[in-house]
């Protein structure tokens, strides 16, 4: 039950929940930047929540269907159009053979997830269908979707009715300004106390260079470093460290000017100090930030981070309950 890709949008990739377990070899887990939205899109169409979907950024693709199926679009408010007619997001929609799915302009958020009943059935690599374009892994030949591609679909796991929808109170998009909670990190001592306070007090803006590997921010005051003798193996720039592992969500600030949050396609290590790490509960929000979005980093401790993780888990449970 294939789908024909007529136009691709800006960067549309096959994603599932990723391939954990190879980061120590330099292969990131990848997968949806907004995992909640991907899980929801799948449940709406009756798939297992980790089935492969399309992740599309800012501008949707144009697809035609060769058989009747059920689809759902979640995440960003990127209204789907079936044969030109605008339809609802976060809702199971029936499409007929021969119909075309396209998208209206983006209203909010940045990344939409398009699930199809049965899931996209490209060959899994290292246990996942997620596209890691930098490493040429997964998806279709390890790259983003192109016009002319044919997406194979699996067999629907269970029949569900069209029109099922996730209530608005259970959906999640960042506010404006966006707030990302951050646990200060191992290299906090590299900047002065005043500089650290300013990092959290100021409002930053998402830069144009914001993708699956990292999200860059601008507009804040450059960091003020504590003087030191560069340790063995570190470069001479005050933001350099002896090479270390980079966690997902870690915030590095090369030369102390523009913070970069590493995301699902993160590089696994390098030589820039990390000021802290975005807590797991807020990782999904990052993928929904458009360039220029004003953003504040909010300092939290481990206790708050773990409480936020539990809260996210209960919101996920509420979503599963609603669509179960």
């Amino acid at each position: 039950m294939p789908i024909d890709v007529r136009k691709t949008g800006l960067a549309t990739t096959v994603q599932d929940l990723g391939r954990p377990g190879y980061y120590h070899l330099g292969i990131p887990m990848g997968g949806a930047m907004d995992r909640f939205a991907l899980r929801c899109a799948n449940l709406l169409v009756g798939n297992d929540e980790g089935a492969a979907c399309l992740e599309t950024v800012f501008m949707g693709p144009e697809l035609t269907f060769t058989e009747d199926t059920l689809i759902a679009v979640t995440g960003a408010e990127l209204p789907p159009k079936i044969d030109g007619e605008i339809r609802e997001t976060w809702t199971a929609l029936a499409v007929k053979a021969g119909q075309t799915l396209s998208f209206d302009y983006l209203r909010a958020g940045a990344r939409a997830y398009i699930a199809f009943a049965g899931g996209i059935d490209t060959p899994p690599m290292l246990g996942s269908r997620s596209t890691y374009a930098i490493g040429g892994l997964g998806g279709i030949d390890g790259r983003a979707v192109q016009a002319g591609d044919v997406l194979p679909l699996g067999t629907p796991a269970r029949p569900v009715a069209e029109g099922r929808t996730l209530a608005e109170r259970l959906r999640r998009l960042p506010g404006n300004p966006a707030e990302l909670r951050v646990l200060p990190g191992l290299y906090w001592h590299r900047i002065t106390e005043a500089s650290g306070e300013r990092f959290f007090a100021e409002t930053w803006k998402v830069a144009l260079e914001a993708d699956r590997m990292g999200y860059r921010f601008q507009g804040g005051t450059p960091m003020e470093f504590v003087d030191r003798e560069p340790p063995f193996g570190a470069g001479s720039d005050p933001s350099n460290i002896t090479d270390a592992c980079y966690p997902y969500g870690s915030i590095q600030i090369p030369s102390g000017t523009e913070p970069i949050i590493l995301h699902r396609d993160a590089v696994s290590g390098g030589g820039y100090f990390m000021i802290g790490t975005v807590i797991s509960a807020d990782m999904d929000l990052i993928g929904q930030l458009q360039p220029q979005t004003p953003t504040r980093f909010v300092k939290v401790n481990m206790h708050t981070a773990l409480a936020a993780r539990r809260e996210r888990a209960s919101q996920l449970a509420a979503m599963r309950e609603a669509l179960g």
Partner: protein, 80 residues
């Protein structure tokens, strides 16, 4: 007489010319047809063309050259 608002499909930085030393793609008052390129939007290290969705006369631009824009923002109006 009808007007068509040309909106940004993607967020980024809007440019009215193909390169800094080149003339504008189009200017207010120019006749335009569907498919004409009106500008570029830069985002994620790539440039996407903004194309005209109507035929008529180009009105005033609602944003400056090299201005940061959000998706859905009106860039220019075409009078049909």
């Amino acid at each position: 007489m009808s007007t068509c608002e040309i909106r940004a499909k993607i967020p980024g930085v809007f440019y009215r010319k193909p390169a800094p030393d080149q003339p504008n793609y189009k200017n207010p008052g120019d006749p335009v047809v569907e498919g004409d390129v009106l500008g570029l939007i830069e985002v994620m290290k790539s440039f996407q063309e903004v194309t005209c969705e109507a035929t008529g006369t180009l009105g005033e631009f609602q944003v400056e050259d090299a201005e940061a824009i959000m998706a859905g923002q009106v860039l220019v109006v075409v009078e049909g």
